[in-house]
């Protein structure tokens, strides 16, 4: 029971870390407000399933798309700002979204919203079923990211992260691609939010605070931005750390913070990022391939 709850939590955060990875890891656009899209997804599901009795799949899909559309709008608004200013804009956005959940009665205000237990084909789905759904969702996100990495959009996003002016000089509409990265990354966070709502059964604005955004981004950074394995490993390491170090419960946050500081000092590219100790070992062990797709 306890194991599966931890696994579900780690799984949801792995999807979230993968989602922010598309915006921050590949396209290189700082995003410190990813929890707001997680929240938009969760609240959409709470309203659809809780108030209108909409089923699981439609709730999941609509929640993703609503988060994605809001993400596109934030992406559009962010075209005017870059780097640190973009980071601050996304933080501000997170506060605004949390405030709306907190004070607007339609969103349950300070009482939060409750979600009926998940049922599929008339049967209740327990924690194990939920975990399988999360794994499937994660697999889809991984497959999508893999495809993206190997196609023109992946090349365009990484080129923008490296040098916007040069990308633009090669015919890449950098504004369009930045907005697309926001749309995709927030859509995925919306899916994660929807599943989270079913898992929790009850959500409050508190769950989607700025601190949650930091946690999501930290996971992607610790694992390795711009890789697929990185955010997942980051979510596992940082997701399990508070559980493993429960015996020193008073100092859990201290250990969490120390992991972040150590990583940034000694492995800023993340555990599996390019040039990290782990990546170098793998590169040495693996036979050379040309990387050409037929």
């Amino acid at each position: 029971m306890y194991g599966i709850v931890v696994a579900i939590n780690v799984g949801i955060f792995a999807i979230l870390a993968l989602s922010v990875n598309i915006i921050t890891g590949y396209a290189g656009q700082p995003n410190l407000g990813q929890a707001s899209f997680f929240g938009i997804g969760a609240y959409t599901t709470a309203i659809l399933a809780g108030k209108y009795g909409v089923g699981f799949l439609p709730s999941l899909i609509i929640s993703g798309f609503i988060a994605g559309i809001v993400g596109l709008l934030l992406g559009l608004a962010s075209l005017r700002v870059r780097d640190d200013f973009l980071a601050i804009t996304t933080i501000g956005f997170n506060f605004v979204v949390v405030a709306i959940f907190q004070y607007v009665p339609f969103f349950g205000a300070s009482m939060g919203l409750s979600i009926p237990p998940l049922k599929l084909f008339g049967y209740p789905v327990g924690y194990v079923g939920l975990f399988i759904i999360i794994l499937l969702l994660m697999l889809l996100v991984i497959l999508f990211t893999k495809r993206m990495e190997r196609s023109w959009i992946g090349i365009a996003l990484v080129s923008i992260r490296n040098n916007e002016e040069a990308a633009e000089s090669l015919g890449i509409d950098t504004r369009k691609f930045k907005v697309i990265s926001f749309g995709i990354g927030t859509l995925i966070a919306g899916f994660a939010g929807s599943v989270y709502a079913y898992y929790m059964g009850f959500i409050m604005s508190y769950n989607f605070q700025f601190m949650t955004s930091i946690t999501i981004l930290s996971m992607a950074v610790v694992g390795g931005l711009g890789t697929i394995a990185g955010p997942i490993i980051g979510a596992i390491v940082l997701g399990l750390a508070p559980e493993i170090f429960r015996f020193v419960s008073d100092y859990r946050l201290l250990i969490y913070g120390a992991i972040l500081i150590l990583m940034m000092s000694f492995q800023p590219q993340g555990l599996v990022g390019d040039g990290s100790i782990f990546a170098n070992i793998v590169r040495k062990l693996r036979p050379k391939t040309s990387g050409v797709d037929q």
Binding site: W152, I155, A156, A166, A167, D173
Partner: protein, 247 residues
């Protein structure tokens, strides 16, 4: 004539960086823009490439007015550029840097952007540009690990991979050794043989004199002379503005 600028004016706040500059780039010509620091060379260059739009005046490419187009639109029309400060994609391999340029026709469509990039024929085509600029040994290296000379060659290879009609070079020899600059001049004459028109901003007079067919001299935002390197060398106004000071 492939590229033309008419009466280009550009002000930054109260400062007039360019004041009524006109130029013409002939087919298959190498045109150099020279002038002392602050003459407005880079401003002119960036206006042509769409980074700035001019306060007044217009740019025409193959007879079409392209004033005010975005840099990515201009690249798509067939005007490629390099940068004064090396702008290689440092985390990407040399091969991926070149591939980025080869995707130019795929970036527009939402479906085509999800097509696989590293098809064998695309990689082959990228390798041909890598070989052209003598970067074969570095093809799988990260661009950030290259020397400055190699990075400049990479940028030229990447610009050529757009298959441009006009190649714009912003101080291509800045920071290069004498030998590298020499090699660069050979490269320019080779490109000329491939029917590419070239416009370059150059600070190094020796390179400009040797590489260019014609020179436009700017000083304080105005064109003060135009002609063959020989004519320019003997122009008293140019000597006063530029060469005289340097000696």
């Amino acid at each position: 004539m492939i590229l033309q600028g008419k009466d280009i004016e550009k002000s930054f706040g109260g400062l007039k960086a360019l004041n009524g500059v006109s130029f013409e780039l002939g087919n298959n010509e190498v045109l150099g823009i020279i002038g002392p620091n602050g003459a407005g060379k880079s401003t002119l260059f960036n206006i042509i490439c769409g980074v700035y739009s001019p306060t007044k005046g217009s740019i025409h490419f193959e007879g079409k007015n392209i004033t005010g187009l975005k840099p990515h639109d201009i690249a798509r029309l067939g005007i490629a550029r390099t940068f004064q400060i090396a702008h290689a994609f440092r985390d990407m391999t040399v091969l991926d840097n070149i591939l980025t340029a080869l995707g130019i026709d795929e970036y527009n469509g939402i479906v085509s952007m999800f097509k696989l990039a590293k098809k064998s024929d695309t990689v082959e085509s990228a390798m041909s540009y890598i070989e052209l600029l003598d970067l074969k040994d570095a093809a799988n290296k990260k661009a950030g690990e290259l020397s400055l000379g190699m990075m400049r060659r990479l940028e030229i290879a990447r610009a050529l991979a757009l298959r441009p009609k006009v190649l714009m070079l912003d101080e291509p020899c800045a920071g290069l050794s004498y030998d590298d600059a020499d090699e660069f001049i050979n490269l320019i004459s080779m490109l000329k043989g491939q029917k590419i028109s070239i416009m370059m901003v150059e600070h190094n007079m020796n390179v400009a004199m040797r590489a260019c067919d014609r020179l436009v001299v700017l000083n304080f935002g105005e064109k003060i002379a135009e002609g063959t390197p020989n004519e320019i060398q003997n122009d008293p106004l140019v000597i006063e503005a530029y060469l005289g000071k340097e000696e």
